[in-house]
Each structure stands twice: as structure tokens, then as C-alpha cells.
């Protein structure tokens, strides 16, 4: 296909604003897939993605579209992940496009997530086509939403396309606008190859597969190619495009989007953001914007049954095949035994991995509370990056501790500005700016410690704004703070997996709260369990879990057997997620208790 007839675009939208449904309609109307072959939301492949209505992996599809001018066009849709955890992946996907559809719900309006991605798209000089979706809703207010787009983002929304992905209205117009307004890709087919990797995944038959966008040059089967960041060289055994299933082709040329695979077994060889070039005629420079994976949060993953350690290791290795952003290394906890310290792009990423381990690999896990990475300056001049609170050096060895801050962007109706400020202030936030998106909606930015975001910032934000607040954040810098370790002792012994790092001013109330909360969570056992909170070795709170006095089915005769067995099974089921720490059985909830105030 000659370059003039190629259009590469992505869709930017907040969760639930209809991105996947619009994508489905585009696929359907261009005849890329027969309706009977389509499951709702074709592009969200993973069961989890469908359930949560989110996209985790970037998906791609090539649409062949005959436009009203009578010409055939190749439209490549790159569907981006829709969550702040995957911001870097989103930025690479956007870098592979010339344009983007900005999909906004006609009733809900612009949200923080949308805004963050629009700015990303504008950074990449993308042509943005506003699309107002769900106009069939009784509460739809396209004019208000247009005004929000204009006032809040500064885009001209007078030509915004009004659609309903549900009824199909306006979908034709989207396709026409893509052809008319989004520029064809530039770049020279005769220059050395530069292909941007915007995603990778593992295929059991083909090995590691790279999703790419060719910026210049071309690729043919049998070519020997080179990864510019890692230096890895491989021979192309297959290449092609997505229909959305893999469709092998003979070549890919400048401007096209597709996949390559070859003698690559490990997705870690295919780094998102890296540039593929030719071995014998390499490009002089890689494409801009590559960066390594940065884990934002860490947590410990431990098998409930220590015999499952090897299974957990195997499962993590398998997941890593498909997810280069997942990091893990073996870790030992005095309380939990052998497990892994795992690094994630964010909380959702963590949640998804944990859920997949349990669901797809049938593992029962204890997850410790997520922690950010603290930078510790020791008195001897050494600098430590601490991803596990239990590993914080002794107070006497610490010169200072710095913690990661993020720039948090919150959008709310103006009536809730006070609430947002209150919560943010309470979370050690530092006010930065406030702008009106329109007469009603306000965008507020704060500098906030990432640890507070992980704690319960968003939950509190949502409850205090009755669900109206939307949040986005990005890492800004490390700042020194007066931080201390809060330990929890059960039966007089410190449980390393329950330690956390907190601001000194909050250590005492938080310790008290935590002890109380644990008392509620820890089930009664055969003996009294003192629960203590300590800061720097000083006990600041104590609660007791009173012993269970007895626990036995008094009566069990001939007619009772099946019913009593059911009772026992129910009781046992409730204990499945419990981990024996010393002589105390702790439920999963206990390890997450650190994470909120309630």
C-alpha cells in the first residue's frame, strides 16, 4: 500500500466512555470481521480485560476501508491501555500514530484520565478528532461536552462527531474523518529501517512477537534485524498485520503497522519503546523516547502453602514471558517464608498480576501491602533504594530518607473543590494549580507522595466527592521527608510483612488505628494474641485478640453427617487464605490493613 493511503490512529477515552465499543463498530462496518465471529469488545482479549472493561495490553487491527472518494485506505487502529499504570505504553502507542480519536461520553464529559492522554497525544503532535459518544442516552448533553473540550483542552470541538456506538450512528462519519483529517505517515522507504516497538507479547508457537510501526525503511521475511537498545540481533521468520488475528505478509513498509517475530524467545528482548533497525544497514539514531521499565510499586507475593513456592516461581516466569514490565526476585520473610518481591507499574498492574496468578495458575497467595521505593542516605554515605519497609536500616544508620512524589491531577465539579483540597492536604499534598474546565468543572493539581496515593487517597477522594472525582498522576521527583518505620508485633514478635514506612507525625495515630484494625481482622484463635504497634522499638499501642474458648460441633449423629460436613467445609473455606505466621493464623486482609484508615 502506498503511504498516501495509510492512516494510523488510536482512541483516547476514559474507562466506560465506549472506546472498545467504537472499535468493535469500526471493525464490523469495514467488514474486517464477520459479525458472527465477533465477541463483544474484540480487542480486549483477556478474560480479565473483558470483566473489568479495561484494556491492559495494546491491541492492534488493520481495517481496509473504501472511502467516499472511491479509494481504498489502510487504517491501522492501535488500541491503547486505558490506565495510568500504563502511561509509558500509551505514550509509545501514540508515538506510532498520526492521529487519535478523542472519545468523550456525552453525559459524563471530560475526565482526568482523558485529559492526561490528550496531552500525551498533543505532545506527539497527533491530529485529534473529538468524538462525542453515547448521544442516545437521555442524559446526553453534547453541547456541554463540546464546551468542556474547547475550554478545558483547548481543542476546536465545533466539528466533533456525534455518535452512538450502540446504535451505530455516526460510525461512517468517523471513518471518513480519519481519511480526510489524519495525515498520511511521512518517512522514506529507501532510508535505513527504523521501526518503533509499541508492544510485545508471547505466542506459544511463534515465540516473542513485537508490535511495530515502521517510521522509515521496510522489512522482508529473512531480514536480519537489530534491537538498538539491547543490541539483540534476530532473523525475521514471520511478519504481517493484524486482522485482528495475525495475518502473515511478505513485507511491511514505511508507515505500516504490523508484527515481526523471529528467533526471539524472551519478551524482555523486545522492549517497548526500542527501535528495530537492519543489521547490515542500520539507522544512525534510534527513535526518540526510549526508556527502561520503572516499577512504581513493590509488594511481596507468598504462597499460602509454602509447598507452592516452585509453582509460584514458574507462574511468574510464564507471566513475565508476556509482560516485560513485571519484575520479581526471590525474597525471604521471617513471617511468611519464601516468596518473591515483585515490582509493578502501578496498583492496577499489581492487582491484575495477582489475580491472574490465582485464576490462571490456581495459586493461593498472600500479598503484602504495596510499597513505594524509598531512597535512604545512610550516615556512612551509602545510598539504598528500599522497596520493602522491613529492610529499612536502623534509625541510627539513617541520615535521611526521600520518597517519590507525583503530580496528581484531579477533576471535579466545582462544589467539591474544598473536599479535594482537604483530602489532598491531609495526604501531605502540596497545592500547585487550579483551572476551570468550564463553568462547572475544575482541574486541580497537587504534588503528593506516591505512598499516600497508594494508601487510600483515591478512595477517600471518591467518597468525599460522591464519586465525581477523577484522578491521574505521574511521577515527578524524590523529596526528603521525616519518615519512620511502623512495626507490628504479634505475640511479642515483629511481623516483618506488616511493617510500613509512615510520616513521623502520623506514626502514633496510624499505629493505634492499625492495632485496632488488626484486632478486628485477626480471627480468634486458641490463645490470646497481643497485637502491638511500635515506632523505633517503642510500643505505642496494644490490643488483644481474645482466645476462642472452644470450637467443636457438640452433636453429630446419623442424620447430621452431610449437614455438619457442609458446616465444616464452610468454616475451612473461610480459612483458605490464611497464612500461619508463627502460631497465629493471619488472613490476607491483615496484610492489607496497613493500606487504609477505616
Amino acid at each position: 500500500m502506498d503511504q498516501k493511503h495509510i492512516r494510523n490512529f488510536s482512541i483516547i477515552a476514559h474507562i466506560d466512555h465506549g472506546k472498545s465499543t467504537i472499535a468493535d463498530r469500526l471493525i464490523e462496518i469495514t467488514g474486517t470481521m464477520q459479525k458472527r465471529d465477533m465477541e463483544a469488545q474484540v480487542l480486549d482479549n483477556m478474560e480479565l480485560e473483558r470483566e473489568r472493561g479495561i484494556t491492559i495490553k495494546a491491541q492492534t487491527v488493520r481495517l481496509n476501508y473504501k472511502s467516499r472518494d472511491g479509494e481504498m485506505y489502510q487504517l491501522n487502529l492501535i488500541d491503547t491501555p486505558g490506565h495510568v499504570d500504563f502511561n509509558y505504553e500509551v505514550s509509545r502507542s501514540l508515538a506510532a500514530c498520526e492521529g487519535a480519536l478523542l472519545v468523550v461520553d456525552a453525559a459524563q464529559g471530560v475526565e482526568a484520565q482523558t485529559l492526561a492522554n490528550v496531552y500525551l497525544a498533543l505532545d506527539h503532535d497527533l491530529t485529534i478528532l473529538p468524538v462525542i459518544n453515547k448521544i442516545d442516552l437521555p442524559s446526553a448533553d453534547p453541547d456541554r461536552v463540546k464546551k468542556e473540550i474547547e475550554d478545558g483542552i483547548g481543542l476546536d470541538a465545533s466539528d466533533a462527531i456525534l455518535t452512538s456506538a450502540k446504535t451505530g450512528e455516526g460510525i461512517d462519519e468517523i471513518l471518513e474523518k480519519i481519511v480526510e483529517e489524519i495525515p498520511a505517515p511521512e518517512g522514506d522507504e529507501n532510508s535505513p529501517l527504523q521501526a518503533l516497538i509499541f508492544d510485545s507479547y508471547f505466542d506459544p508457537y511463534k515465540g516473542a512477537v513485537a508490535r511495530i510501526r515502521l517510521m522509515s525503511g521496510k522489512i522482508e521475511k529473512g531480514d536480519r534485524l537489530k534491537m538498538m537498545a539491547t543490541g539483540k540481533i534476530f532473523e525475521v521468520t514471520e511478519l504481517g498485520c493484524f486482522s485482528p488475528n495475525l495475518m502473515p505478509l511478505d513485507e511491511l513498509s514505511t508507515g505500516e503497522v504490523g508484527y515481526v517475530c523471529g528467533s526471539l524467545k524472551d519478551v524482555r528482548d523486545i522492549r517497548v519503546g526500542d527501535t528495530i533497525t537492519s543489521e547490515k544497514n542500520p539507522a544512525s539514531e534510534p527513535l526518540p523516547g526510549y526508556r527502561g521499565v520503572t516499577s512504581m510499586v513493590y509488594c511481596g507475593l507468598y504462597p499460602v502453602d509454602s509447598a507452592d513456592y516452585d509453582n509460584l516461581k514458574e507462574a511468574l516466569e510464564k507471566l513475565q514471558l508476556n509482560d516485560a514490565a513485571l519484575k520479581f526476585e526471590p525474597e525471604t520473610s521471617a513471617a511468611l517464608g519464601f516468596g518473591f518481591r515483585c515490582g509493578f507499574l502501578g496498583l492496577l498492574h499489581m492487582d491484575v498480576i495477582q489475580e491472574r496468578l490465582e485464576r490462571e495458575y490456581n495459586l493461593k497467595l498472600i500479598t503484602t501491602a504495596p510499597s513505594v521505593i524509598y531512597r535512604v542516605n545512610k550516615t556512612d554515605g551509602e545510598i539504598l533504594m528500599i522497596d520493602n519497609p522491613a529492610k529499612l536500616p536502623k534509625t541510627t544508620e539513617i541520615a535521611s530518607i526521600a520518597e517519590p512524589y507525583v503530580k496528581a491531577t484531579v477533576i471535579v465539579p466545582k462544589d467539591y473543590v474544598g473536599s479535594v483540597m482537604e483530602v489532598s492536604q491531609d495526604k501531605r499534598g502540596e497545592y500547585q494549580s487550579m483551572d476551570y474546565l468550564d463553568t462547572n468543572r475544575v482541574m486541580i493539581t497537587y504534588q503528593i507522595p506516591l505512598s499516600e496515593i497508594i494508601y487510600d487517597y483515591f478512595d477517600r477522594l471518591k467518597s468525599t466527592t460522591r464519586g465525581y472525582a477523577s484522578l491521574d498522576y505521574e511521577l515527578s521527583d524524590y523529596r526528603e521527608a521525616d519518615l519512620v518505620k511502623l512495626d507490628i508485633l504479634l505475640n511479642g514478635d515483629v511481623v516483618d510483612a506488616l511493617s510500613s514506612i509512615v510520616h513521623k507525625d502520623r506514626a502514633v495515630p496510624r499505629g493505634r488505628q492499625l492495632a485496632l484494625k488488626l484486632k478486628r481482622i485477626i480471627p480468634q484463635q486458641m490463645f490470646d494474641i497481643p497485637v502491638q504497634a511500635a515506632v523505633g522499638g517503642r510500643i505505642i499501642a496494644r490490643e488483644d485478640v481474645k482466645a476462642r474458648r472452644k470450637d467443636v460441633l457438640a452433636k453429630c449423629y446419623g442424620g447430621d453427617v452431610s449437614r455438619k460436613k457442609k458446616l465444616l467445609e464452610k468454616q475451612k473455606e473461610g480459612k483458605k487464605r490464611m497464612k500461619a505466621v508463627g502460631s497465629v493464623d493471619l488472613p490476607q486482609e491483615a496484610f492489607m490493613a496497613i493500606l487504609s484508615d477505616d
Binding site: M526, R549, D551, C556, G559, S562, K565, L568
Partner: protein, 340 residues
């Protein structure tokens, strides 16, 4: 109604396939069979094949509902054991749990039974009842000491969801007091000559209930009548619990029972075998387990057994696997480990 029901039971006894072996025990109970006129009791009893081979033939009765003549007739028919649902010897407590009999009725019934020739008498007692104190329980135990009875079944009150009790606001003893009551029973009854042979069952030497032990020792049983349960060929079934439905089904020759658990499998069998066996102070008989399931019990539960031993809930030797006294108190913790 009684007549139709009695006939239905007799008909069921004819219909069911009863193995021709000696019968280990016969039990008329579950509810209050003694409300039936004596002729009907006799009719049912006589319809049991091979009945005279059984060394233990029990009937349940409520205190105050049976007179001397009725008791003598029971003896004449062949009953040699009687079980009274006494619950408590405290009239205030009996009233608060809605019982119509008094402690006087209970004492009279026990005495009449003895005079009628019953040499094997059980009473059912409950503790941790609303408004009950340790002293009230001690008083019950003092009365037992003075009675000529051979067997005591005693249960802590457990209020199950969905029952009448669960809706009421009751002044129940605290967990601490309930525990003291349990400790008192466990130490006191053996002192009075009743040794504990199961979590809630105590008997004088030689008077352990063969019927009860059967339930916990994997002995098959056949239950007749509405809502009766059977355990035969490793299957557990339950007769229709609605009396009308039961009678109609029997009279019209239709199916009158259902499986207790339609999804039952071999693992359930193993689990039941274990948690029932552990109820006995003699525990699970290793050779019985191996004979039935083909492998030593450790093949299924090595880790569980080790864990329970380390918690001092279980003890083992070459013959059996038993709960310790602490294990008896926290039986559920041990039972659930044996669920597969």
C-alpha cells in the same frame, strides 16, 4: 394419622432390602416416638426382621409423657434401653427454653423406667442455656450423681441460623463461662463414674451406646420413617421429611427418599470416616481405615496430622489417631483438616 403413618413405616420395612446379618442395635427415636400408642410401637417393632438378634434396643421419650404401664409394655416388647430428653433439672431454665416438663417429671420418669426394669437409661442434657449459671450446671451434675442411670449425652447449646432461637434475644452465658462449664463437665462426669467415649457422650463401663458408636465407626444403618437417614453401601440417603409426602410415596410405591448429597464422592467418604472417627475418644482405627481405603491414613493426611500434633490437638500410636483433651475442645480445627 398415627395409624397411616405406622402402616407406612411397616410397609417401608418390608420394601427396604435389609441385610440378613445380626442386627447391632435398634433405635426408636428422632422426635418423640413415645407419643405413639403402645400397640403401634409394637406393630412397628414386630415388623423388623431378625429383631431379637439385637443386644441394644433403645427408645426415646420425653419426661412426663410415659406412665408406668407404658414403660412396662416397652420392656415386654423388647426395649432394653431408654433415653430421656431431660435437658436440665432447673425448672426456671426449662421454662425459658419452652419445655413443658419439670425436673420433677424427669426424676419420676427415670424412677419409673428403673422400676419397669430398664437397666440402661440415658439422659440428654444441655448446658450453656439462657440464664444458666455454673451453679445451675453443678446442681444438674449433683442430681446425676444421685441417679441410677448409665449414660449421659451432654451438649453445649448451639444456636443455628434460621432457627427460632436465633431470632430471640437470649441472655446466654459468656464464652468464658461456657468454657468453665465445659471444663466442669469433662472433669466431673468421669469422677461420677461416667467415662467419656465421645465428645458429648459419657457412660458407665459397658454402657457405651452401640447405636451411637455405630454412627462414628462407619457402621451401616437403615432409618425408617419420615426424615429418617440411612447409610448403606457408602451412600447416605434421607427419607422425605414431609410426613404426608412420605406416606403418599410409600403408599403409591414411589421413591420416598433423596440422596443427602448428590455430588458425594470418594473424598467425601474419606473425610466423613475421619471426622466421625475422631469424635470418639478411641479415635480413628488405623487398620479399619486401611481396610476400607486401601492405604494407610498418612497417605492422605500426613501433613495435617503433623500439624495437629504440633498444636497438641492430636495424638497417634500404632493402632489409632485420636484427639487430645485439648483436641476435643477444639474438635472443629482438627475435623476441618481432614476434609479433602
Amino acid at each position: 394419622m398415627f395409624g397411616r403413618y405406622t402402616s407406612a413405616i411397616c410397609r417401608e420395612i418390608e420394601l427396604r432390602e435389609i441385610p440378613s446379618e445380626k442386627i447391632r442395635s435398634i433405635y426408636f427415636g428422632g422426635g418423640t416416638p413415645s407419643i405413639l400408642p403402645i400397640e403401634m410401637i409394637e406393630k412397628i417393632f414386630n415388623s423388623i426382621p431378625n429383631k431379637k438378634s439385637s443386644p441394644e434396643i433403645t427408645i426415646e421419650a420425653n419426661p412426663g409423657t410415659v406412665d408406668k404401664k407404658y414403660l412396662r409394655d416397652l420392656r415386654r416388647i423388647g426395649f432394653n434401653r431408654i433415653s430421656f430428653g431431660v435437658q436440665s433439672f432447673n425448672d426456671r431454665i426449662l421454662k425459658s427454653i419452652g419445655r413443658i416438663h419439670t425436673s420433677r417429671d424427669a426424676l419420676d420418669s427415670i424412677d419409673s423406667a428403673r422400676l419397669a426394669g430398664f437397666k440402661n437409661i440415658n439422659i440428654d442434657l444441655i448446658y450453656a442455656l439462657p440464664n444458666q449459671t455454673i451453679e445451675d450446671l453443678q446442681n444438674d451434675l449433683d442430681i446425676i450423681a444421685a441417679l441410677d442411670i448409665q449414660h449421659v449425652s451432654i451438649y453445649g447449646l448451639q444456636i443455628e441460623e434460621g432457627t427460632r432461637f436465633s431470632q430471640m434475644k437470649l441472655d446466654l452465658p459468656s464464652d468464658e463461662i461456657t468454657e468453665s462449664m465445659y471444663d466442669l463437665i469433662v472433669s466431673e462426669l468421669p469422677r461420677l463414674g461416667f467415662h467419656r467415649y465421645e465428645i458429648s457422650n459419657y457412660a458407665k463401663d459397658g454402657f457405651e451406646s452401640r447405636q451411637n458408636l455405630g454412627y462414628w465407626s462407619d457402621i451401616p444403618y437403615i432409618g425408617f420413617g419420615s426424615a429418617a437417614h440411612s447409610y448403606l453401601n457408602d451412600d447416605r440417603i434421607e427419607n422425605f421429611s414431609n410426613v404426608e409426602e412420605y406416606i403418599d410415596a410409600i403408599e403409591s410405591g414411589k421413591i420416598f427418599y433423596r440422596a443427602e448429597d448428590p455430588n458425594r464422592n470418594r473424598n467425601d467418604l474419606i473425610s466423613e470416616f475421619c471426622f466421625l472417627g475422631l469424635r470418639k475418644t478411641s479415635g480413628i482405627d488405623r487398620s479399619q481405615f486401611k481396610n476400607k481405603f486401601g492405604d494407610p491414613i498418612e497417605k492422605y493426611f500426613q501433613r495435617e496430622i503433623d500439624r495437629l500434633i504440633s498444636k497438641n490437638l492430636l495424638e497417634v500410636d500404632e493402632k489409632s489417631i485420636r484427639l487430645t483433651p485439648l483436641g476435643m475442645k477444639f474438635g472443629n480445627l482438627a475435623f476441618e483438616e481432614f476434609l479433602l
